[in-house]
């Protein structure tokens, strides 16, 4: 009886969560003020993180909170401040023709039907993963999938992140005269002091997340995004890279994650093994090595994406 009560309560909670998600998404899109829309989007991300927790996906929850909501939100906000004119109220809409509604309703029906028709119980690859955990070098299944079983995906995904940065740099205006951002975001001194205290703490958290990833939720992406958050705070505090670091040392830091991944992936082939086929004995260490480099690069890359411009080569002034 009690179990059923809990069951029903949990279902209500889920229902509430789902409805909140849909409403937040809708409000975020339809908000008259874009700033409000972005804030609502961040809230949406945080509620989504709760949903991930409810779905037993703590890794995704962490990634969502840090990257999906946090960094994406920050990126959206700084972009908004740089736009030529941020006025868009009421939101300019194209007339939504009947055809569009028909299309959406049909899509909803078809997709919903397809999902309902799937079997109620399915193992997926859970058992396969569980049976191979002993050979993966780590104890946490998600990390094992990310860095070992499907490590090749992650390797390419690091390349995607690097790509985003290269693209952002190649698009950035070539001679950035002054930091527009400084003018855009003026922060009170007390908050600044708080930020300064937070930065070392966040670096510590990042290191912990990285280390814990081997056997519990956490890992390179979550750690990297926390590191990035630290970087963002540092940028907000007015910290800039020193000129002598802004050249190739910075570039090296940015490619380090991908480069290390490629290097390890290729190096294990020397003995005739396949790409990314870690020797069992050193798998754990190699994965940690890759993750450490990746964390560093992810943090740096995301922070650089946030800053939105290439650091100038000249001496910091």
């Amino acid at each position: 009886m009690g179990a059923a009560m809990t069951e029903a309560g949990l279902f209500l909670l889920d229902l509430l969560l789902v409805l909140t998600l849909l409403c937040l998404a809708w409000w975020s899109l339809a908000a008259t003020d874009l700033f409000k829309g972005i804030v609502l989007f961040i809230a949406f991300g945080l509620v989504l993180a709760l949903a991930w927790v409810r779905l037993d996906a703590p890794d995704v929850a962490l990634a969502e909170a840090a990257i999906g909501a946090g960094l994406t939100g920050a990126l959206l906000l700084t972009t908004l401040s740089k736009l030529a004119s941020s006025i868009d109220n009421p939101p300019a809409k194209r007339s939504s023709p009947v055809l569009l509604w028909v299309l959406l309703v049909m899509l909803a029906a078809v997709l919903g039907y397809a999902i309902m028709s799937l079997p109620q119980q399915a193992q997926g690859l859970a058992d396969t993963v569980a049976s191979q955990m002993g050979n993966s070098g780590v104890e946490h299944p998600v990390t094992a999938v990310l860095l070992n079983f499907r490590g090749y995906d992650t390797l390419l995904e690091m390349a995607v992140l690097l790509l985003a940065l290269i693209a952002a740099w190649s698009l950035a205006p070539r001679a950035a005269t002054s930091c527009e951002m400084d003018e855009a975001l003026t922060v009170s001194p007390i908050v600044l002091a708080l930020f300064r205290m937070l930065i070392p703490l966040m670096i510590l958290v990042a290191a912990y997340l990285l280390w814990v990833g081997a056997h519990a939720p956490g890992g390179a992406f979550q750690a990297g995004s926390v590191l990035a958050a630290a970087g963002v705070l540092a940028l907000l505090c007015g910290k800039r890279l020193e000129g002598r670091l802004a050249g190739w040392p910075l570039r090296l830091g940015l490619v380090l994650g991908t480069a290390m991944f490629v290097a390890v992936a290729a190096a294990v082939m020397v003995g005739g093994a396949h790409l990314l086929q870690y020797p069992l004995a050193s798998a754990g260490k190699l994965i940690l090595l890759i993750e450490a480099a990746a964390t560093f690069s992810i943090g740096l890359t995301l922070a650089m994406l946030f800053s939105g411009q290439r650091p100038s080569r000249g001496p910091a002034s």
Partner: protein, 486 residues
């Protein structure tokens, strides 16, 4: 089929890693970008050739990344079809790399980003062509799409930025549609491995919806009429080497992926959709050609020509015979070479006269003979005149259509060929005459002229040795690709 384990140099891996490494090096040392980029291009070409010989020796290659094998790990897979795509990309890639050496010397477009972005795009292309896993394909698709968008935006003009923006939205929308399909397939069958899925897939709602979504995603990305609206602005406003890459390779990648899904994943599911694709293809041929003919700017004309030519690729879905499939794949190859050459030639003309208004081409036939030769040879292939790759492709498609009395398709192809001739010769004609107001001319780098010509000549040569590509295509090809021996 060979398990490529234990081979000291698994080339299937290196065709992906080499451009990736090159991209990182180019990013680290931007000043050496040209040298590093060119070296990487050549190294990648060599790796692709090495893989080709490996494939000839041992047949289809299947490679388990990480040694896990499907369904847990990711498999790489190369058969004749993927090999042809790899070779095509390598050939066009080297050509475009040489072209870029000259192009960015004088162009106002931003050169620093080109090399790393292009090499990352190549990574995405090669990764896509040898992927044996539908989720891995999603990642390669994103790598490809995002790098393509970034490359378009290098031109930094208003048109280019707008075109890139639209392209980005289309690309992301397509990827997400595709990803929903992946989610449905994974949760229905518990694997994302293409080969396994091929054996497991059965007729049920999830499969059909996944098929529909994935097909729509690929049509969007390969700009099949009426989903082509994004292509001309993006392809026409990009820097010339980028236009060449986009029209020659990027749209083909999504078409390739569609073929893979169609034959290797969904082969047991109803193919009723094929007729729809064929009809859309035919519509694309006419619509794209007519619009190409109406353009007054050279690069837009060439871009609309791509819309038209892509239509041919979808005719085999309706013709449904081995010959038609061979024709379709041949079309992919010949169009890649010819269109790359044509965009490069258009870029030369633009660099030469500072504009690309067709009516004011002002004697480029005399003043840029090599470029004009490249343009004409590429045009011959697009029109499907002998001897050219385009002719072989059209011959195969016509043969397929006529041997089953499918008249409509044959007539469409003829109309398409004539319209292609009309828009190609519209340009050629004005290239002879003198413009009212003579223009100043800028010198054009010999790299740009000769690389365009080289690719155009390749498009012609493709029409003389159709045996080799077709035999290669038969290696491990789906049953429908291999024709009964004549």
């Amino acid at each position: 089929m060979i398990e490529a384990s234990g081979t000291p140099l698994p080339w299937i891996v290196w065709v992906i890693l080499l451009p990736l490494i090159g991209a990182m090096l180019c990013f680290l040392w931007p000043r050496q970008g040209k040298t590093l980029g060119l070296l990487t291009a050549l190294a990648t070409l060599l790796a692709v050739i090495a893989l080709y010989f490996q494939l000839l020796d041992g047949g289809v290659i299947r490679y388990a990344v990480g040694g896990w094998g499907a369904p847990l790990g990711i498999a790489l897979y190369a058969d004749g079809l993927s090999m042809l795509m790899l070779l095509m990309s390598a050939l066009v890639g080297v050509g475009v790399s040489l072209y870029a050496l000259g192009y960015f010397k004088h162009s106002p477009d931003n050169p620093a980003g080109f090399w790393p972005l292009w090499l990352l795009m190549w990574t995405g292309l090669n990764g896509l062509f040898v992927a044996g896993d539908i989720f891995n394909l999603y990642v390669t698709l994103e790598l490809l799409g995002l790098s393509a968008v970034a490359l378009v935006a290098l031109a930094a003009s208003r048109d280019a930025l707008g075109g890139a923006m639209r392209y980005l939205f289309v690309s992301l929308l397509g990827s997400l549609c595709y990803l929903i399909g992946v989610a449905l397939l994974y949760h229905a069958y518990g694997t994302v491995d293409i080969a396994l899925l091929g054996t497991l897939v059965e007729r049920n709602p999830a499969t059909h919806v996944a098929l529909g979504l994935m097909v729509v995603a690929m049509l969007l990305k390969s700009a099949l009429f009426p989903l082509h609206f994004w292509l001309p602005p993006a392809h026409a406003s990009a820097p010339a080497p980028v236009s060449a890459l986009l029209s020659a390779l990027v749209v083909k990648a999504s078409f390739y992926l569609l073929l893979r899904l169609w034959f290797d994943v969904f082969s047991t599911v109803s193919m009723d959709l094929g007729m729809v694709l064929g009809v859309l293809g035919a519509a694309a041929i006419v619509w794209g050609s007519v619009l190409a003919l109406r353009q007054t700017r050279l690069k837009l004309l060439v871009a609309y020509s791509t819309v038209a030519q892509l239509g041919y690729l979808f005719l085999p879905f309706a013709l449904l015979s081995p010959l038609a499939w061979q024709g379709g794949v041949y079309f992919v190859l010949s169009h890649a070479l010819a269109k790359a050459a044509m965009f490069m030639a258009a870029g030369n003309i633009l660099a030469f006269g500072g504009h690309d208004r067709i009516a004011d081409l002002d004697r480029v036939a005399q003043r840029l003979p090599i470029t004009m030769t490249a343009f004409c040879l590429a045009g011959v292939s697009l029109m499907g005149l002998p001897p050219s790759g385009g002719f072989i492709a059209k011959w195969l498609l016509l043969d397929a259509a006529l041997s089953h009395d499918q008249w409509g398709w044959a007539v469409m192809m003829m109309i398409g060929g004539l319209l292609a001739a009309a828009y190609v010769f519209k340009v050629v004609g004005f290239a002879f005459t003198q413009a009212d107001a003579p223009h100043d001319a800028q010198p054009v780098s010999p790299f740009m002229e000769w690389s365009a010509l080289a690719l155009a000549v390749c498009a012609i040569l493709l029409g003389l040795n159709a045996h080799y590509p077709l035999e290669l295509l038969a290696i491990g090809g789906p049953v429908t690709f291999v024709s009964p021996s004549p």
